[in-house]
C-alpha cells in the first residue's frame, strides 16, 4: 500500500524512531469515520441486515490487512538490515515488536469498546412500569384485527424478566418434586430450558416467518414470544402448588390458549396467504402449548407415571395411586399422595431425617 512505502523508505536509512508507520495507517481511516462511535442510529433499529455492524467489520478487516502488509514490509526491512549492521537488527526487531503490540492493543480495545458496549441494548430497555404492566395484561387478550398489521412493542425488559421468573418457578417445581437431575444441576437445567425455548423457538419462528414472507423482525418475535410466557408463568405457578390434573388441563387450555391466540392473531395480521398463515401459526401454537405441557409433566411429580392421567374416569383425581416408584424411596411417601406439593415437601423433609 502506498502509505507504508514512505515510512519504510525512511527507515532504510537506519533511523528507527522516525518510523511511525502504524499510527498513521490506523488513525487515517478512523478519523474519516468519525472516531468509531459505538452508538447506533435509531433508524437502523429494525433493520435486520445489521449494516452498521458490517461497516465496522469491514473497517476492522481493512485495518488487519494493512497491519499484515506492514508486517511483511517490516520483515523485508529486517532482512535488509541483517546484511548490513547486526546492532540495528536487534533494535529494529524490538521496535517492530513494540509497534505491533501497540497496534494490536489499540485494535483490540477499539473492538472491545464497540462490541461490548451495552449502549447498543439501551433502547430496548427504555420502558416504564406502567407500560410493562399493560403489556403483560395485553398478552392475554387476543385482538381480532387481522387486516392491518398489529403493533408489537420492541422491548426486551419484559420478556427477559418473564424468562427469569419462569426459571424461578421451574426451580420451585423441581425442588418440591425431588426431580433427579443426573448430569448438570437443577439451576443449569432450568436456565437452559427457559432460555433455550425463548431464544430457540423465536429464531425458528423468525426463520419460518422469513420463508412465509411475514412482516416481523427478530426483535419483535423475541418480544412477542417473551410476553407469551406470561401465561406459562401463571399456569405453572398455580399448578405447581395445587396439583390436580383436571385443574392443570383447564388452565392449559384457557390461559395457555389465550396467550397463544394472542400471538397467533398478531402473526396472522402480519402474514399474507392462507398457507403461510397456517404454517406459521400452526407451528407457533403447537410449540407454545406443547412447551407448557412439557414443563408441567417433565419437572413435576416425577413419582407418578403418566398412566394416571389416562385413568381419569375410573379414579377420582384426588385419590391417585402413584406408580413407578423407585425402590430407594421410603415407603412412608405412599401415604402423602393426597397432599399438595408444598405439604409433600414437608413430609419428605420429615421422612428423610
Amino acid at each position: 500500500m502506498a502509505t507504508t512505502a514512505a515510512p519504510t523508505g525512511a527507515a532504510r536509512n537506519g533511523a528507527g524512531p522516525e518510523w511511525g508507520g502504524f499510527e498513521e495507517n490506523i488513525q487515517e481511516p478512523l478519523s474519516s469515520q468519525g472516531g468509531g462511535s459505538a452508538v447506533i442510529d435509531m433508524e437502523n433499529m429494525d433493520d435486520t441486515s445489521g449494516s452498521s455492524f458490517e461497516d465496522m467489520g469491514e473497517l476492522h478487516q481493512r485495518l488487519r490487512e494493512e497491519e499484515v502488509d506492514a508486517d511483511a514490509a517490516a520483515a523485508e526491512e529486517e532482512d535488509g538490515e541483517f546484511l548490513g549492521m547486526k546492532g540495528f537488527k536487534g533494535q529494529l526487531s524490538r521496535q517492530v515488536a513494540d509497534q505491533m503490540w501497540q497496534a494490536g492493543k489499540r485494535q483490540a480495545s477499539r473492538a472491545f469498546s464497540l462490541y461490548a458496549n451495552i449502549d447498543i441494548l439501551r433502547p430496548y430497555f427504555d420502558v416504564e412500569p406502567a407500560q410493562v404492566r399493560s403489556r403483560l395484561l395485553e398478552s392475554m387478550i387476543p385482538i381480532k384485527m387481522v387486516n392491518f398489521p398489529q403493533k408489537i412493542a420492541g422491548e426486551l425488559y419484559g420478556p427477559l424478566m418473564l424468562v427469569f421468573t419462569l426459571v424461578a418457578i421451574l426451580l420451585h417445581g423441581m425442588k418440591t418434586s425431588d426431580t433427579i437431575i443426573r448430569e448438570g444441576t437443577l439451576m443449569g437445567t432450568a436456565i437452559g430450558t427457559c432460555f433455550g425455548y425463548w431464544l430457540g423457538v423465536s429464531s425458528f419462528i423468525y426463520f419460518l416467518a422469513y420463508l412465509c414472507n411475514a412482516q416481523i423482525t427478530m426483535l419483535q418475535m423475541l418480544a412477542l414470544l417473551g410476553y407469551g410466557l406470561f401465561g406459562h408463568c401463571i399456569v405453572l405457578f398455580i399448578t405447581y402448588n395445587i396439583h390436580l390434573h383436571a385443574l392443570f388441563y383447564l388452565f392449559w387450555l384457557l390461559v395457555g390458549g389465550l396467550s397463544t391466540l394472542r400471538m397467533v392473531a398478531v402473526l396472522v395480521s402480519r402474514t399474507v396467504g392462507p398457507t403461510q398463515r397456517l404454517l406459521l401459526c400452526g407451528t407457533l401454537a403447537a410449540l407454545h402449548m406443547l412447551f407448557l405441557l412439557y414443563l408441567h409433566f417433565a419437572y413435576h411429580k416425577v413419582v407418578e407415571g403418566i398412566l394416571d392421567t389416562l385413568e381419569g374416569p375410573n379414579i377420582p383425581p384426588i385419590q391417585r395411586v402413584p406408580r413407578d416408584i423407585p425402590a430407594m424411596l421410603p415407603a412412608a411417601r405412599l401415604s402423602s399422595t393426597v397432599l399438595n406439593a408444598t405439604a409433600k415437601a414437608v413430609a419428605v423433609t420429615l421422612q428423610s431425617h
Binding site: K175, M187, G188
Partner: protein
C-alpha cells in the same frame, strides 16, 4: 497507597497494616448492611472482598456430602457460586440499561454485601437442622429465611434505589427480588 510500601529489608512483615485496614473496611460495610440506612459508604469505596467471603461461605455451607451425589448431579458449590456472580452481573447490566447511574463494580459490591442476611440465615438453618426434625423445624427455617430475604431486599433497595430514575425503581428492584428469592429457595430446601 503509602501504607502498602514495605521496607525492602524485611520481607517477613508482609504488610499487616493494609490487611487490617481492609478487614476493617469490610466489617464496616457488614454493619451498614445489617442496619441499612440511606448512605453512600457501600457505593463510595466499593470492594469485592466482602462479597467473595460471603459467597464462598454460603457455597461451602450449601455443599452436600458425596453420599447424596445421586440426588443432585453437579457440585452445589459451583452452582451457588455461578448463580450469585452471574445473577449479580445480570442485575447490574439490567440496572445500567434502565438508565441507572451506578458503576458496574459498585452495583456488584452492593448486591454481594446484601447477601449477608441470607448467609446468616443459612448458618441458623444449619444449626436448626442439627436439632430434632419436625414441622416446627421447617416452620422455624421458613420464618428465618423469609425474614432474612426481606432484609436483603430492603438493604439492597436502600443502596440501589437512589441511583435509578425515580419512576423506574420498581423495574430495577424486581430482578433483585428474584435473585434473592432464588438464593433463599436454595437455602430453605437444603437438606444435609
Amino acid at each position: 497507597m503509602a501504607e502498602a510500601e514495605e521496607s525492602p529489608g524485611d520481607p517477613g512483615t508482609a504488610s499487616p497494616r493494609p490487611l487490617m485496614r481492609d478487614l476493617k473496611a469490610v466489617g464496616k460495610k457488614f454493619m451498614h448492611v445489617l442496619y441499612p440506612r440511606r448512605s453512600n459508604t457501600l457505593l463510595r469505596d466499593w470492594d469485592l472482598w466482602g462479597p467473595l467471603i460471603l459467597c464462598v461461605t454460603l457455597a461451602l455451607m450449601l455443599q452436600r456430602g458425596s453420599a447424596d451425589s445421586e440426588k443432585d448431579g453437579g457440585p452445589q458449590f459451583a452452582e451457588v457460586f455461578v448463580v450469585v456472580w452471574f445473577g449479580a452481573v445480570t442485575i447490574t447490566v439490567n440496572s445500567k440499561l434502565l438508565g441507572g447511574n451506578i458503576s458496574f463494580f459498585q452495583s456488584l459490591c452492593v448486591l454481594g454485601y446484601c447477601i449477608l442476611p441470607l448467609t446468616v440465615a443459612m448458618l441458623i438453618c444449619r444449626l436448626v437442622l442439627l436439632a430434632e426434625p419436625g414441622p416446627i423445624n421447617f416452620m422455624v427455617r421458613l420464618f428465618v429465611v423469609t425474614v432474612m430475604f426481606a432484609w436483603s431486599v430492603v438493604a439492597s433497595t436502600a443502596f440501589l434505589a437512589d441511583s435509578q430514575p425515580p419512576n423506574r425503581k420498581a423495574l430495577a428492584i424486581y430482578p433483585v427480588f428474584l435473585f434473592y428469592f432464588v438464593i433463599s429457595w436454595m437455602i430453605l430446601t437444603f437438606t444435609p
